[in-house]
Subunit: 386 residues, 2 copies
């Protein structure tokens, strides 16, 4: 494990480092920036030379962890368990995570069919209190469903309360959702969400920085929130007490130049106090999915309609091309019909439809999907306008 | 009724014009600016020369109304009924109403002891839906009481729902409140608020542009709102549906450079939709009286503490001097004790205390009142600091 630009070595080094460094370690991030993952991994495995910015005691601790790491075994086990490791430079890597600078994840473990990169392009985070009120749960479910109906991907943390309701809202509307966990993506945390997380892995994506089998911890929850903030175009907070973790996500989104939004609640509710504090600052008040889409869509929302699809059809993955070919020239069809036409499962068809949506080829109309005007024009070789 | 600067003639002309022109008539406002109230009144009474900007038909209508006007009788009846007419130039005129330009009221009819000018200096409008929810009524009452406890005057429109709850909250906290009516101030509108409006006239102020006996109308409610907005340092909206009259008040406040504030509610409540729309614009989100005071107080809130009282003691009205003298050198006393010390009624004492508060002499502490540090310093001739 030394030098060179071999992508497999780089990947293996990052998997190895994931067993040694904690997520969000900015000192480690500087090592990677200065020396590259392969060299940093080599020094940790070989026991030196010592890297800058650590005490001898901490260095000894890192070396001890390095001795335990078995990246090849991690990768093999992951493959067997339906997981993959996506690292910077990989085709599926969501480039917007690079905004995190030295706190950028080493890579992400991913469970689920869709392309993380494609889905993240049109995604919004919906986060909030675990111990939310019925009102909070209602708003999260409604917003999750509404965003899905607008063709947006709902990202959240898989927790009880607002997170779970947002995921369920998106799933219930036949939409796309991503759970970003603070533990290994092969674990279900919280335990009570075992079924929900399995469903998300089946119909959407379950992702996280921590290697398979790793446990969550309070600090890991906090650090995880920066990934939710960076991955998405904006973060909506629904119910959060003062000093809630959701406010950390919202403030991270703000620092990263993403949209920060809050759903108001009664002024008498302590669970809305944190949201109201946000709204007294820079955050935007939103009350439904249309208002969220109006903000996060911005120019991007209109761009595909103006410019036509960005990626030529020939460059689409074969699965996406088959789904695109299954859409009729006119009118919308439900995803099960698309799946039959493309000879695939409904979950796979939905995953592809959301990817094609990101590329400007298709759009969602209620429960159905149809070609965009630009996709139709490109079918007809750019002649005329309908 | 011709020419000259005689203040009695000017006053009489304005009372007369109040019977001829509708409140907020900007064409009439321009006549007053160009020719003066006395000359405009003379032309209307004498039947010409015709004023600019009116059709012949409208001119005839105005002349007919002018024939009915009996300003001397209005003033005499008002005096008998405990009302007074306060006009621009008068010592009690609140100068901030001049910000309304040509839509400035001709004058205001006033019922109640306190000085309108003094009270308006530290006042906040609290307005909202007539058919409010229990939540809206609760927030209005709490905010009314909280503002009163902070020594602020609560201004509202005397209507059912939010307005009434705000007035009652202030009264219940032994505080100061002003009702701005869209009818003659001798009338109680709505009828169900007859007792409330009588109590406000007894303990606070009931004011309005319309001459005694005049009825409200939908357009008069809308036009009245600009007075509420202009009189106060800021307007707080608690529950308002889309296109509610309270939003007219809020937008007028915004145009006049006053603070515009909204109390959020559930995103699912149609009665909060108008407030949320405001909050998505320029308005500030507030959830309690302290947050309102933080905004509207601004420099003004701190100014008296820095500069000491603006008005020398000798220039205070005798009643205010007596109330000031009744306050102990140290600690706070309840208003009934102040009233006994100043040999006056409790209502009068409260009226004076709020005036003295505007001037920086006294401050409210819970249920009691005490001298400000600056007032104590000025008692001791400016020696030392405590």
């Amino acid at each position: 494990m030394s030098g060179g630009d071999d992508p497999d070595r780089e990947l293996l080094a990052r998997v190895f480092l994931g067993r040694v460094l904690e997520p969000g370690d900015e000192v480690g991030g500087r090592w990677l920036r200065d020396l590259g993952a392969v060299e940093v991994a080599r020094r940790l495995r070989d026991g030196g030379p010592q890297l800058v910015g650590v005490t001898d005691k901490r260095w000894a601790g890192l070396l001890a962890r390095a001795q335990q790491a078995e990246p090849e075994k991690d990768l093999a086990a992951a493959q067997g368990g339906g997981m993959r490791f996506v690292a910077p430079g990989d085709g599926e890597w969501p480039g917007q995570l690079d905004d995190l600078g030295d706190a950028r994840p080493l890579g992400l473990w991913v469970r689920g069919r869709p392309s993380l990169r494609m889905w993240a392009l049109r995604s919004v985070a919906v986060v909030g209190a675990r111990a939310c009120t019925e009102y909070g749960a209602h708003m999260a479910a409604t917003l999750g469903a509404g965003l899905a109906e607008h063709g947006w991907v709902v990202v959240s943390g898989g927790a009880y309360g607002v997170d779970g309701a947002a995921h369920r809202g998106a799933l219930g509307a036949g939409g796309a959702t991503v759970a970003v966990l603070a533990c290994g993506v092969d674990r279900a945390y919280p335990r009570g969400h075992t079924e929900l997380i399995a469903r998300i892995a089946e119909q959407g994506l379950v992702i996280g920085e921590l290697p398979p089998g790793d446990h969550p911890s309070p600090s890991r929850f906090i650090v995880r929130n920066r990934v939710i903030a960076a991955l998405t175009r904006g973060t909506v907070v629904i119910e959060a007490a003062y000093r809630s973790g959701s406010l950390v996500t919202a403030r991270a989104a703000q620092r990263l130049g993403r949209h920060t939004m809050g759903v108001p609640g009664p002024a008498t509710s302590g669970l809305s106090a944190g949201v109201h504090e946000l709204l007294r600052g820079e955050a935007e008040l939103v009350t439904d999915a249309a208002e969220v889409v109006e903000l996060v869509g911005g120019m991007g929302e209109l761009a595909p309609d103006r410019r036509g699809p960005v990626l030529p059809r020939d460059l689409l993955a074969p699965g996406a091309r088959r789904v695109l070919a299954a859409l009729p020239g006119r009118g919308a069809v439900p995803p099960d019909e698309v799946a039959r036409g493309a000879q695939t499962t409904q979950d796979d068809a939905i995953a592809r439809l959301y990817e094609l949506r990101s590329l400007g080829y298709v759009e969602r109309h209620g429960d159905g999907w149809k070609l965009t005007r630009q996709a139709m024009i490109s079918v007809r070789g750019g002649r005329g306008r309908c």
